[in-house]
Symmetry: C2
Subunit: 341 residues, 2 copies
């Protein structure tokens, strides 16, 4: 059995990358500043940043391969304009590609998109196509709120998003629905904005008919599906009140939850109420919560421990760890098969 | 043992009340229209609306008394201006008072507030004082987002809110943190906005130091605390990362969750991870989800069934059903004691 972590971010990128970003944003404020220079990052710097962090944790915790994308909170689609977002996105994705090239057995790429508030999502199609066709990436992170906590885009079921979905279907890649940082002081990024976005997206899917138009479109809602599994009765009941089909038919053929839930009772609930086929192993590491749980003595985000502790069949664990993720990411499956895995 | 439902709304008010509201909002759009006339509602109409709904369900399900407030989704603080909100709030609270006067053993009042976007919260103090001192109400519903899904107010820990908290402490009444309808198409009211607001408020309390300034301030976060219990490990971990005290000390002396979680696994999780002393029985009925769960044959919002089914001590059930709520609402406790209960 392979252990595939579907949710990892390059939160430990060398500081030169952030310096490029800082210079880019400084120029937004003061156009007299020089054009920012792309970061010069050596392979050694990348190796150090990965081996001391993600790779070390992969080995310690027993994961085989991580679906790896740029740091979500740093996507910052709300900062600058479309050109700024495009340059930063390209640099971020190219850096992921270098990690994958250095550790092809341990990481495979998922891309950030050059979203920007008020800009049509079709302008993100070219970067998805570049990352999938040229860089060998297997999916993308789609931000439902590029305004960073002001929620000014149409719902994900709106035709606004359709040109992008058409390309996703054509390329046969899924998207993780993932917001970035919040510039709304009401919303802590990892403590409120992320979880709210997950919950919001799911309810949009209940209200809409998106998967009638795109039967093969696939989304991962991270962080264990936000509040959804805990309120599964509410969502089943709301679907009923709104005269929607049963969730199993209406949404859950196309929507998957990861296991980024940082305590055993949460994972127990997730697996109790959500069909095993809709659950993908993920840790979000090195990520939102980095400490050790004083109640267990283990890292909060060592989510493999919680899955391992489940009283379910070994075959079901394999679905969570490997098979579901290979099904949701066919391009990953093809890569693994080509390696004889 | 008394069964106290801490979360009920007058969702079934006679249509004349809504006609008043409609006339009020019509005049906002067309100032040439006549001033709206207060609804004329007979006691019989109130009795019919209550006896066929809330009172019937109380009896069928076995609750004794409901802490009763105006329909949350109809508060509509984002509609009209401060004067509109004030007139609607007064009418809504006065109608609750009539219900309580007709059924003093079955209902006790909690008030809506005359909030309005951009208006200082201190302008809501007079209505809280009127409702508590003149109408005998025991608490209030505080809307953290009077903009209706645009989240333009400061976080609940900001000094903006302090004048209101001072009055709450003086009167010794708690607030349920409860948003109203959403005018942001991203957020379905009961499926996203409500749950997001619950999660958001909790994270604000982690980030802030509100309860150092107001050690006796008490909030109920409804809908089972939003996403919080499901992500309890995340919140404990974030508190640690942000160098905040342990949640038991930092937040949970002042914050309580109701049981408006509409399936057994959710209630099981709530009681597993949250201290019993922080859980108040609530149903939100007649409310957000009105149908029958095809998996159980019972109403989704018959939350008493889920509590009854818990494998916990009878004494702990009594804390959830009665004792915690009497502690959080001292004015309710005083009323019940005066009745020999």
């Amino acid at each position: 059995m392979l252990i595939i972590d579907c949710h990892g971010h390059y939160t430990t990128a060398p500081t030169a990358q952030q310096k490029f970003r800082d210079a880019q944003l400084a120029k937004v404020k003061d156009s007299s500043l020089p054009d920012p220079q792309q970061a010069h990052i050596s392979d050694d710097e990348i190796c150090e940043s990965i081996e001391k962090n993600q790779l070390k944790l992969q080995r310690e915790r027993g994961a085989d391969i991580t679906i790896f994308s740029p740091r979500a909170s740093a996507m910052g689609h709300h900062l600058g304009d479309e050109a700024i977002s495009a340059a930063w996105t390209r640099a971020s994705n190219d850096l992921i590609k270098r990690v994958v090239d250095l550790y092809p057995n341990n990481f495979i790429g998922v891309c950030q998109l050059p979203q920007s508030p008020g800009v049509p999502i079709k302008n993100s199609v070219y970067e998805l196509e570049r990352c999938v066709k040229e860089l060998g990436f297997i999916g993308c992170n789609l931000n439902p709120d590029p305004s960073g906590g002001h929620w000014k885009s149409p719902p994900l079921t709106d035709k606004h998003w359709y040109p992008f979905y058409e390309k996703m279907v054509e390329l046969d890649v899924p998207a993780m629905i993932h917001v970035s940082a919040s510039c709304n002081p009401n919303f802590h990024a990892t403590g409120a904005h992320y979880i709210n976005a997950d919950t919001t997206a799911f309810m949009q899917f209940i209200e809409g008919d998106l998967f009638k138009d795109f039967p093969s479109l696939r989304f991962i809602i991270p962080h264990g599906g936000g509040a959804v599994p805990y309120h599964w009765g509410r969502y089943r009941g709301l679907a009923d009140m709104l005269k929607r089909p049963l969730l199993g038919q209406h949404v859950m053929k196309n929507v998957f939850f990861d296991t980024c839930v940082y305590h055993q009772p949460g994972i127990d609930l997730l697996v109790e109420v959500i069909d095993i086929d809709n659950i993908l192993f993920g840790s979000e590491m090195v990520g939102a919560v980095r400490g050790i749980d004083p109640e267990t003595g283990h890292y909060f985000d060592d989510t493999k421990r919680y899955i391992d502790a489940l009283q379910i069949r070994a075959e079901d664990k394999r679905r969570i760890y490997e098979l579901n993720t290979r099904r949701v990411f066919p391009r990953l499956d093809a890569v693994l098969k080509a390696r004889g895995l």
